[in-house]
Subunit: 348 residues, 4 copies
């Protein structure tokens, strides 16, 4: 059986999820939507993805033909032929969309821009794949929360039974996307004055056992977020810096590298490494941890990790589809399948 996947919204996230799904043997893209004929339609055409209109109004659908694109219909028609729809629309329209999906009897995945309350269920591959088996609707959490899940869930599991962990995280965020030339600041640090920030606590929607708070600041860079993380471990945790590093090195979608030895001293060099890997858009699906920035002292674990905002959630969307469709109950097996297919896709 091939899972029929639709993508509602073919922008920064949508175009990436489409390619990742297209790379899988057990899935196919049956359509992607655009609100109107624009440059992004060419990408869909080039990849051979059937093009639909986000709306059902006839004039809006007809506008595509007017611009020379074949549009196969409105959202309703797309919903009639898919098993799952991945909502990559720009947010704020989640509730309205969810109703349409439910009425059409189609399973749906939302992104981290929507609130947990919308779906009542959230997802990361390593935290709660099994809890998402067969659900009709879930939410893949944001890039930051996904990143926290990747490194904190394994630590949580290491000390499970010995006590709880509490986490303090400061998000140093890129202030604008790489293709955005209007947003600043150019020369300033901008605190997110709502404290604590929502990023950390959002992790508890997928792993409530991890007690976490966070603060966030925006800085003048366009390439990656960075997290400065302090974990308070339970007494008698039995861990060491080496044990933590070994665990992460064996964790899927986490890259651990020595910054000093490899001359990777900042997010700039991390992104250059990603370009060399050769995935489209220079994406880095993995979370990057600086080996020599990890230190466990007494009961406190310190580390830094870098997050590629546009792409770390992409493979999680693929895994979430398998969970909802119950075609793979073992999350590690799904991750293995997803990532191998993506790599083959890019010839790497």
């Amino acid at each position: 059986m091939t899972i029929k996947v639709a993508i509602n919204g073919f922008g920064t996230i949508g175009k990436r999820v489409a390619d990742a799904v297209d790379a899988q043997e057990d899935m196919e893209i049956v359509g992607v939507t655009k609100t109107s004929p624009s440059f992004g339609c060419q990408l869909a055409v080039r990849k051979g993805y059937p093009l639909y209109c986000t709306f059902d109004e006839e004039d809006k659908i007809a506008a595509f033909a007017g611009a020379g694109y074949v549009c196969k219909g409105g959202l309703s028609e797309l919903l009639s032929i898919c098993d799952v729809i991945v909502d990559c629309s720009p947010g704020k329209v989640g509730a309205e969309n969810l109703e349409k999906y439910q009425n059409a009897g189609v399973k749906s995945i939302f992104q981290g821009g929507e609130k947990h309350a919308l779906t009542g269920k959230s997802y990361t591959s390593s935290a709660n794949h099994i809890e998402n088996l067969g659900v009709n609707c879930t939410r893949v959490v944001s890039c930051n929360t996904t990143g926290l899940s990747r490194t904190l869930v394994p630590i949580y599991e290491l000390v499970q039974g010995k006590g709880s962990i509490s986490v303090n995280s400061v998000m140093i965020r890129r202030a604008a996307d790489p293709g955005d030339s209007s947003k600043g600041p150019i020369n300033a640090i901008k605190p997110v004055l709502k404290v604590p920030s929502h990023h950390g606590p959002d992790l508890m929607t997928v792993k409530p056992e991890i007690d976490i708070t966070s603060l966030a600041v925006a800085v003048p860079t366009t390439i990656m977020h960075l997290h400065a993380i302090t974990v308070n471990l339970p007494l008698g945790h039995g861990l060491s810096t080496e044990k933590v590093l070994e665990t992460w090195k064996n964790t899927q979608r986490v890259i651990v590298m020595n910054g000093t030895k490899n001359k990777i001293t900042s997010t700039a060099e991390v992104m250059e490494l990603a370009r060399d890997i050769g995935r489209k858009w220079g994406d880095l699906h993995e979370i990057f941890v600086w080996e020599d920035g990890v230190s466990l002292q007494d009961n406190t674990l310190y580390y830094f990790q870098a997050i590629h905002q546009e792409s770390d959630v992409i493979p999680e969307n693929v895994d979430a589809i398998r969970a909802m469709m119950e075609t793979e109950t073992d999350w590690k097996a799904s991750v293995e399948k997803t990532d191998r297919a993506i790599s083959a896709y890019y010839g790497i």
Copy 2:
């Protein structure tokens, strides 16, 4: 009695300390040193500060005359006429200098670039003025540590007797000075891989009762550092967000302003505020706290503060002189005196 103050090293910090001392009624600048005749000498001449050579070699002293500057002698001669010398040399030569100062029987103040071990005594106005009364040598801690002292000591004092506080601080540092065009990064976040960083723990050299750790990252900005701080308060602390704000509003050299209402959303607007105040170099001696970024929830206090790297330690140097000379035992009185004189100096 007027305290005779010498400045060894007339660079970024030295020129500011000289002006701040010069503004005081109870002090006078008897000389400043330069290693060789260069642009900075003009500043000294313009201000009327007697110019000395950092070294005692005759040819080095003579070089000044060759460039058209009146040099009154070498460091030894300067040491023979001063009560206190403020060492603002670029670091690494601290030990050597200290010996010279001690041999000359002159009290000395070092800056935060030197280690606590050199002087065995460190200083901030609010933390330990009284412990520095009459000492022969002390160290004014770094800009970051001074900033932490300003806001954390009052919190510590509020809960004294109720239990201890522990602090987690992430320093988001400007990667280069405003006048430095060679250092980067231009578009990256750079973690300081030595963890925990030295900045937080250095606070314990002036206030050992505050348990603190820190992480640091450098970001592409040249104007201010920003601290994202989480304070764990003791159970039964009895504080509230309002109480904390009220305390800081009554704390000298701390500015508390609402970012949203005043449209001060980043360090850029804080620096613009400083330029409007009208101090030379656009300096901001005060620590800036965003009122609407302060939140006390249960036992955890969150806040952000901005630090003007070149200048927050300047008035502390003046207070340290009074402590060492025992001319003012009450730190608050010294701060009042220092700051009023500086303001009058700039006509503000």
Copy 3:
């Protein structure tokens, strides 16, 4: 006679012009306007400038008292007591304002944000002071045009009678103001697609004899603009690189310094030099020319100059007042008077 000057709009430009006027012996500030009570009012109060409301509506005037400020009335009242008003309002309201000023019989000066057509007359000190003698209304041109006038008018005068000069200028602009944290780009170069740009040709409103075109790009910096200029000289110009440098060194409000020898390799070090000079806001009224970036080869002169956007036009406003009031017909004498007063004001 003391010229009574009003400032309409007390923002970035207005507050600077007010201070510069206040520093002059032959002028006084009789009032400054704000649209509503806000932070900027404190600056006016601190300086002792009488505060007026930009509007005449009673409720708007009353709002100031409500916020604790003494407001002496509306714009009409201010117009009834001044000789000249300097319009520093944010633009687009020029025509409306001009009518009010004319009806009140008050001379007025507009800034470079307004078009030449509004006033029919434009002004820079070195280009056409004498043509502005006694006029009722003029426009001080923009920061960029003022900068071009400073260095190009002397070159034009050097070759006058030998032929005409034609100029090609590329403006590399700071994309945001230092206190603006919302505008980008963070990591991009943004061409001003309207070509040629208006900056260069605007010079012809004050010196029509100079044939000039320009292109402009915005780049991620907040501190200064930079001009890359190529001047085509007439055959038989008789000049040399040395002669050009000597001329500029003797030109008021132009600073010529060797970048390599003085380690001033970018606008960052130029701004640091300005902070050392000690003017409020770290302003640099002068145009900065890199001596070692000037080269005359055959008939082509190449050079770079840096422009401090907020401040180079400030002293020109003072000179323009004298021209309009006909109290000083010699532009060089006015400049001398203006600049000496400003320097004295800041104790430099």
Copy 4:
């Protein structure tokens, strides 16, 4: 016949040239060199490129095996099996290398970091392919010069016979590479004080008929260079803005797009477009011209173009190989062949 190509130096340029050559049907990579076993070797292994040592010393060759890499020998051995070697070494060793290549009887291509004097012959596809037919050694000019050649040679050809063109170009350069986190400035504009700069005049090594001068500044961005260009056309040129645009739209390796309509307002959006195209590293081999930034007024043509520093010269290296091997005498046919192969390689 398949041309056997070696790459000496497998860094930023070398790895890209290798992939571009590997994509061609009429060429194959017989080996790439590294100075020592390092991260870059993995890229070569992954692509299946035989690995050689830059040096012939046995211990240096043996070091590769020690790090787990199969090294097939030193440079001499590589030279014994190739027809052409592309020198992508970091510069300054050009003369030494050239002698080795000549002694081995191997044709060689150098990059723009070397001077024209080294090879006595330079190359761009559109300017002088035919003059490079059969030569033993040539130099592919720098990214900036290549960019100038792409848009200026067609203009030159349009007016040929009607008179000469003269060009004034200002290069606004990215100050650091995307993977470089050490270089600044963070917040400044840095003029290249050697005037005129070498970039423009270097065009005359491939097309001496175009009279050109240039100035350069470095700005805080890491992604692209931008050129602001003014062309003086001969009287009676017979061109119009439309004619120029039409010409460039029909020119290979030039992309002309309307910035306003496509919301491509800066180099950030241009790079995002390149990421969407899907070439490895997000490269853009083409020169990007803003359609709405092109204007021909009287005899002056104004335009802006953006240059992707790492990649615009890559396909030129491929064409240069064909010229030297005389396997394709028509430059447009070579370009067509090169670009089609590269596109197919990336599945785009």
